[in-house]
Structures are given as C-alpha cells and as structure tokens.
C-alpha cells in the first residue's frame, strides 16, 4: 500500500519534470503558426524550420563554441587544481587545514547576485570583460569548492597503505599522486568533471553580466537574447534549448552510475 503511494508520488514528480521537456522538444518541431493552438501537443507534420533558422538565420554555432570553451576550461582547471588542493588537504599535515577547508566552503556560500557587481568592477580593471578568462575565473569560484570537497572526501577513504608503499618504493608525493592516487580516483574525478561541466554550461548570471557582445555570448545568454523588441521567437528559443540540453543529457545518461557512485563514495565502507 505504501509502496504504491510512493510510486504514484514519484510518477507525478517525474511527470512534472519530463512534461515541459517533452513539450519543448515537440514545440521545437512545430510550425510557428500552430505553436499556440490547443492541439499543438499532437504533432502534425514535423518541421525543422526552427533548427534551420537557428543555424543559418542566426549564428548559433558561436555561442555553442563559447560555451564549450568556457565550460571545458573551467572543468579542466577545477579538476586539475582541485585534485592537487584536495590531496594536500586530505593527506598532508599542516597547520590550519580544517579552517582552510571551511573557508573553501564558505566562499561558495555567497549568493551569486551579491558578487556580480564587485566582480564586474574587478574584471573591468583586469581588462577581462568580454573574454573567456573573464568567465572561467569567476566560474572557478564555485566549481573549485565543489571539486575540492568531493575529492577530499574520496581521497580520505583511499587506503593510506598504498601511498605509504609508493613512498617507501621511492616515489615522491607528486608522483604518488599522479601514479597511484589519481588513477584510483577516476570515478571521483569523472563525477567532479561532469558536475562542474553541467554547472558551467548552464550558468547564466555571470555569463550575461560579463559578456558584452554576441561574439562572447554563451548558449544560455544567446537563447535569452533571442527575444526581439516586438516578437518572441518561441520556436527558435525552444530549438536552442533542445540543442543546449541534448549533449548534457547524453553525458548524464551515460555517466549517471558514475555520478551516483562518486557522490556516495566514502559514505559507507566498501
């Protein structure tokens, strides 16, 4: 009886999430003039005009490229720097380790909107407005804490004996990290990379504030700015949304086992 009730609750929840998504996909292949009729849910003849408009009418490749560069660079940097920092915090003995870890977490607690203006001024001084660096640097402020906390948790539950053995075998700390710890941490590194990528790919506020022209817009910003003064091209917006979501959805579907394993690793001894 209870199980049945939960199943229903889960179904309703899933529907609430999946329905708008399906609607967006359907609408993106529905002709513009039928978009607002009540029967738009029943597809009658699929059209690809919105997609064609997206890539030939507008230059949607540029925002995709921008997003890939920014999210990719953020991911690579935060995993690389995060791994080194996390290893130090997990294994080396030094004064102020716990405060450092707490500080890292505290930094990520600031509401984004509260640091947009100071960051804008800062980036302007550094001449980083409207550059890839001007997005990657702020993105690191929220992706590094995530990376560090995920990886510290994972590194701590690796058996210390392995690292001791490597050091007795003559390997330096860095070599031990590179040859022993990181290969064993692949699930955690993958999880960190995927979460960081998702976050950076979808980020909107910073991207909107720190880019000044279409040549640097990321996908979310570009889609948001499709809207003209007199009309909202819903078909193209939804087509853009589908294009933006598809690669991310594919990554998550392929890697979901890893993400869950990475997030819960260290929770129980296994």
């Amino acid at each position: 009886m209870r199980a049945v009730r939960w199943t229903w609750a889960a179904a309703v929840f899933a529907a609430a999430i999946v329905l708008p998504l399906c609607w967006a996909v359907l609408a993106s292949v529905t002709p513009e003039d039928r978009l607002f009729t009540i029967t738009s849910f029943v597809p009658r003849g699929l059209v690809l005009e919105h997609y064609r408009a997206l890539f030939s009418g507008r230059d949607f490749w540029t925002p995709i490229r921008n997003s890939l560069i920014v999210a990719g660079a953020t991911t690579i940097l935060s995993v690389a720097l995060g791994a080194v920092s996390a290893y130090a915090l997990a294994r080396l003995a030094f004064r102020g380790k716990t405060p450092a870890l707490a500080f890292v977490l505290a930094v990520s607690m600031f509401p984004q909107i509260s640091i947009v203006s100071p960051l804008f001024l800062l980036l302007r001084e550094l001449h980083l407005l409207n550059t890839y660096g001007g997005l990657v640097l702020p993105y690191l402020t929220f992706s590094m804490p995530l990376a560090i906390w995920l990886l510290v948790g994972f590194f701590r539950q690796l058996p210390v004996d392995l690292e001791d053995a490597a050091m007795v075998d003559g390997a330096s700390r860095i070599r031990t990290l590179w040859e022993i710890v990181l290969p064993l941490s692949r699930p955690a590194l993958a999880t960190t990379a995927i979460l960081t990528f998702l976050y950076s790919w979808n980020e909107f506020l910073f991207a909107l504030s720190f880019t000044l022209g279409p040549e640097r817009y990321t996908v979310p910003v570009a889609i948001a700015l499709f809207r003209g003064q007199y009309q909202v091209p819903w078909g193209e917006i939804l087509a853009g949304a589908v294009v933006a979501t598809t690669p991310v959805a594919v990554i998550v579907f392929v890697a979901q086992r890893r993400i869950i394993a990475g997030l819960t690793s260290g929770a129980v001894k296994g």
Binding site: P159, D161, D164, A165, M167, V168, D169, G170, S172
Partner: protein, 363 residues
C-alpha cells in the same frame, strides 16, 4: 645489506599516546630480527619509524651507519611488505614489481630482466599480466614480497606478512620465508603478534610491550629463560603456568611453597634466590602426570583438550581458585574430565620471578 640501529628512539603521537619509549635496538647485517608482542605494543610503529613513515619524537635511526632520522622514506632504501600487502590495484603484477625500479630510472631492459627473475623465484611468473584483484591471497602475498625483493634494498621490513593467509598457507609460506631469508641473507625486521612465527623465523626475538622491549635474545633463550613474567606468559603455547608462592631458604637448597604444591629445588641456577614472596612459573609440558606416591600435588581434570600430537589438561587444584593449572601430556595418557590426577613438576625447569617487579630471579 646493512645494519640498523635505533638509539633512544621515542614516539609520542599528537594525542599523547606513547607508542615507543626510549628504544635502543641493534640489528646486525643479515639478521632476521622479529618484533613480537600483543597488539598496540608499538611493534608496527617501530617498523614505520625505520621506514620513515613516522618521525621519531626523539632519538636517532641509523641504516648502514648513516643517520636517516630526518630523511623521508624515499631516501632510506628499505623495502616494506605491508600487512594489507598494499598492492597497487590498478597496476598489473608486472607493473607492481617494476614500479620502484621505474621510479629509480633503472634501464627498462634491466627492469624487465629483474621482474622475470624475481617472479620466477617466487613462482608468480605466469601471473605477471594479472591485476591484484584477480589473485588469490597467497599470490598477492608473493607479489608483495616480490615488490620488496626486486629492489635489492638495504633492509626488509615485514609487517605481519602472514596474518592475512589461511592457516595451511601460512605454515607453508613461513617455511618459504625462512628459506628466502637464508638465500638472500638480508637484514630483515619482521613484525608479528604470533609468538610461534617469532620463534621459528627469528635469528633473534624482541618481545615488546607498551613501547618497550622486554627481552631481546635468541628464540630458545627467550623461551627457556624469559626475562620477566610478561615474556614468560607471552611466549610459548599453551602459556606458562604462573602462580604466587613463597621461597624458604635452606643453606643448600630452596623450598617453594605454593597453594598448588611444595617443592624443594636444588639447582645451581637458583642458589642465589633470596627467601620471600615470588611468582612461580612452570611450562605446561614440564608437568608430568605420575602415580600418587611420586606426586607433588593433585588436581581434578576440568577440561581435556586433545590437540593432536599432545593433549592439554586443565586441572582444578584446591587452594588455587582463580586459575587452572595447565599440563601437556601424551595423547596416549588416558585422562577423563573430572578425574583426579597426580602430577610432578620437573625441578630443573622451574622459573621464579620477583613478586613485585615480575623480573626473573636467578643467575
């Protein structure tokens, strides 16, 4: 190969726990020294101190005459076999063996030859392309051993290398380890909590308790002349019988009066023992079951344990309420539970310890 010297080494952990106290230890070239003791006695810490995985709070450590107290593990040139084996799970047996040599930038052709030679010597040459997860316990143990041997280090440090093996395999591997040590003639420090391993493998045995070496001597010496009550009760199985007694001196012999029995001992070993309260000790196999007229005392058989080659009889003796007297008898001696048996102690195998300090009394 090299000597290892620990000089007044202490290790106090940040939480205040003292793992090793003022330890001075000399390991000779080619010797196999066994550190044995109950868990928490500091024996593994001594090994980690020598490996450089822990830094001593005071004192110095010398390997081959070189002071390595402040050197990191990478620069000590010792090899360690961990209790968990600590094989790199993502590397094959070949890569596990080759790792240390690769770190040392040994020529790849040379590495390959040494891997083959070591693997052949340990009988793991057919497993080189497997990963540790695909190996049995014994094969993992050999791989861990191979990873140490291949380096030809100054010294080997073995931390309970047999404790994760099942009993049959453990005995076989123990023999192989003894052979291996004889062949390599390598300075080795071997940590175990199993006193039988310690006795069979060690050139010398150091019995440790609470961070202190209670006795350091050849295995049989430790067995025959335990330095104190702790060593006496820790070494030997079944454990030595120990009970309180009083010594009465006569000019040329001593009389030991205890609740169990009263015996006169006239051996040159204990002629210098003074009168007074003592702890009296005798090993279970130095107690013989005899007829009533020859007996020192008698007891009721409480538990009879036939363990194969011999039978252990636990006797309840009147006057000794808080413990049973253990005697080892031949399997052919018929003893039944609740039967009253008479026993005699071998006079020349009696141990006496100071009642307060527990130190052995004697020469």
């Amino acid at each position: 190969m090299a000597t290892i010297r620990l000089q007044d080494v202490s290790k106090v952990y940040p939480n205040g726990h003292t793992a090793v106290r003022q330890l001075t230890l000399d390991v000779e070239n080619g010797e196999l020294l066994v550190l044995v003791g109950p868990s928490g006695c500091g024996k593994s810490t001594v090994l980690r101190l020598i490996a450089g995985l822990e830094t001593p709070s005071s004192g110095s450590i010398l390997i081959g005459g070189r002071d390595v107290t402040r050197e990191p593990p990478q620069r000590r040139d010792v090899a360690m076999v961990f209790q968990s084996y600590a094989l790199y799970p993502h590397k094959t047996v070949r890569e596990n063996l080759a790792f240390a040599l690769r770190v040392q930038r040994v020529d790849p052709v040379d590495i390959d030859a040494r891997v083959k030679k070591t693997a052949a010597a340990l009988g793991i040459d057919t497993l080189l392309d497997r990963k540790p997860g695909q190996l049995s316990g014994g094969q993992r143990q050999r791989t861990a051993l191979g990873r140490a041997i291949i380096r030809e280090p100054q010294a080997f440090l073995l931390d309970e290398p047999l404790s994760n093996l099942d009993p049959v395999l453990r005995l076989g591997t123990r023999t192989e380890l003894a052979l291996l040590h004889r062949r390599l003639n390598a300075t080795t420090i071997y940590v175990t909590h199993d006193q039988e391993e310690a006795m069979t493998l060690g050139t010398r045995v150091a019995v440790m308790r609470q961070g202190i070496v209670e006795q350091l001597a050849a295995p049989l010496e430790v067995f025959r002349r335990p330095a104190n009550v702790f060593v006496a009760s820790f070494v030997g199985a079944p454990a030595m019988n120990l009970w309180p007694a009083t010594v009465e001196r006569t000019p040329d012999s001593i009389r030991i009066v205890s609740p169990v029995c009263t015996v006169d001992v006239n051996s040159p070993d204990i002629t210098r023992v003074k009168g007074g309260p003592v702890t009296f000790g005798i090993r279970p196999h130095e107690i013989d079951l005899v007829s009533e007229d020859e007996a020192d005392g008698n007891g009721r058989a409480e538990i009879v344990e036939p363990i194969g080659p011999v039978t252990v009889v636990h006797l309840h003796v009147d006057g000794l309420s808080d413990q049973l007297v253990r005697a080892v008898v031949s399997v052919d001696t018929p003893v039944h539970v609740n039967e009253r048996v008479h026993f005699r102690l071998r006079r020349d195998r009696v141990h006496l310890f100071d009642a307060d300090t527990g130190a052995a009394l004697g020469p």
